[in-house]
Assembly symmetry: none
Homo-oligomer: 217 residues x 2
DNA sequence: AAGTGCTTCGGGAAATTTGCCCGAATATGC
DNA sequence: GCATATTCGGGCAAATTTCCCGAAGCACTT
């Protein structure tokens, strides 16, 4: 392994878009020390390719059709704890970032990042360090200022129930009727939930509820 | 222009992800006859770059933060009807494809396409032909066969675009700014969309947009 | 037993949005 | 040329949201 490191860093590329993979490959290969030893376009193939090639770093987009990229990360880290996984995606939601790190990711950079920053991140995780792009750091920093973990942890039981019903399409009157509350109280909860979660619009609230599994769409 | 064509095809790359742009650039440049003369990461810059470089083909992702890519297509085609625009995005919803062609796009390929297919599409639109990737053709074919009108069929293009942005979490002010409309107009559209679709709450609107594939959650 | 903190429940008032009317400019179709 | 659909916004009353506030019930601590 140390010999391999001396010769460079082997990379497994995982992304569901062929041309994006090809783009990565060219960018990374042009660095000299980075070698793409395999590619995959889904979570299952990613794990198979990892077992076959045992790369130093897995660079993967976790928003792929089919199985979850997070599951792939867990599998990879479970098989070889010395494996390094750098998540590379367009999403920048705090919950997703935390999920990725909890799943065992070593780094998280967004596709908005400069290629140089991505390359730097690959070298960082290869050295065993944690890496993340500036925008991700900002998102997490903001999040950390609210003393809670998951977005839902900061909500009380009543608030969660109201959020669930609201995100499922219920009107304020219906919720009030269901829970035997005054319309005014439901409105107040609605507002409270928005401020607590930081959602600016009802649409963001629905998306939040959906990503937290509170409601299915 | 014929001389230029003989020497190759000049391309303006528009995508909000730097590394993706760099990837395209390398893939296209490796073809020999394709030359990336400029890049842009948003709709406004795209139009400016088009005016400055007058490229043969504009390859653009229409899902960018800020102003609509569709608007950029309209502007570009309005300025120079001989311009060719190839939309290159990860979305594959029939409505979006139709909107793009109505806006003046000459081609539409998804990022799931093989790089070779993308290159072929660029050459096609450069020759003035219409181009689309196989998956897009299938989506449109399916659409034309299904007698059941989607809920979205009763909405105009503008309404769909506003619904998409709204369901994606944009505020009324942001949408108005993106599309250069007055806040009042966006509010009116919002109301119109609700009545046309029968949605009673914003949450139902978001769910509708999601089930129609207008937005991902 | 009193204090602290949290959740739950609502009132009040200003700001904003909704709901629904309208007219006008511009395609688009026949 | 005429009808029709789409796009764009003004106006205005009604409704809702926003943001403040207090209070009651509970659990947990010292």
């Amino acid at each position: 392994m140390t010999e391999l490191d001396a010769k460079g860093i082997s990379v497994l590329l995982v992304d569901d878009h062929p041309i994006v993979r090809q783009g990565y490959r060219r960018v990374l290969e042009s660095q000299g020390d980075l070698h793409v030893v395999a590619e995959a376009d889904n979570a299952a193939d990613a794990y198979a390719a990892f077992k076959a090639h045992d790369p130093d770093v897995v660079v993967m987009d976790i928003s792929m059709p089919g199985a979850s990229g997070l599951e792939a990360i867990r599998n990879i880290r479970a098989r070889n704890p010395r494996a390094r996984v750098l998540v590379f995606t367009m999403h920048n939601e705090a919950v997703l970032v935390k999920s990725a790190f909890n799943a065992g990711a070593n780094g998280f950079v967004t596709k908005s990042s400069e290629p140089s920053a991505v390359v730097r991140a690959i070298r960082s995780v290869a050295r065993g360090e944690r890496a993340m792009s500036d925008d991700i750091a900002h998102v997490l920093a903001e999040e950390s200022l609210s003393p809670t973990g998951s977005v839902l942890d900061q909500l009380g039981e009543r608030e969660i129930e109201i959020l669930r019903q609201f995100a499922s399409g219920a009107t304020t009157e219906q919720i009030a009727s269901h829970l035997n509350l005054s319309v005014k109280t439901v409105q107040n909860y609605h507002y409270l939930i928005k401020t607590k979660t930081g959602a600016r619009t009802d649409a963001q609230l629905v998306r939040l509820a959906a990503t937290c599994g509170l409601t299915k769409i």
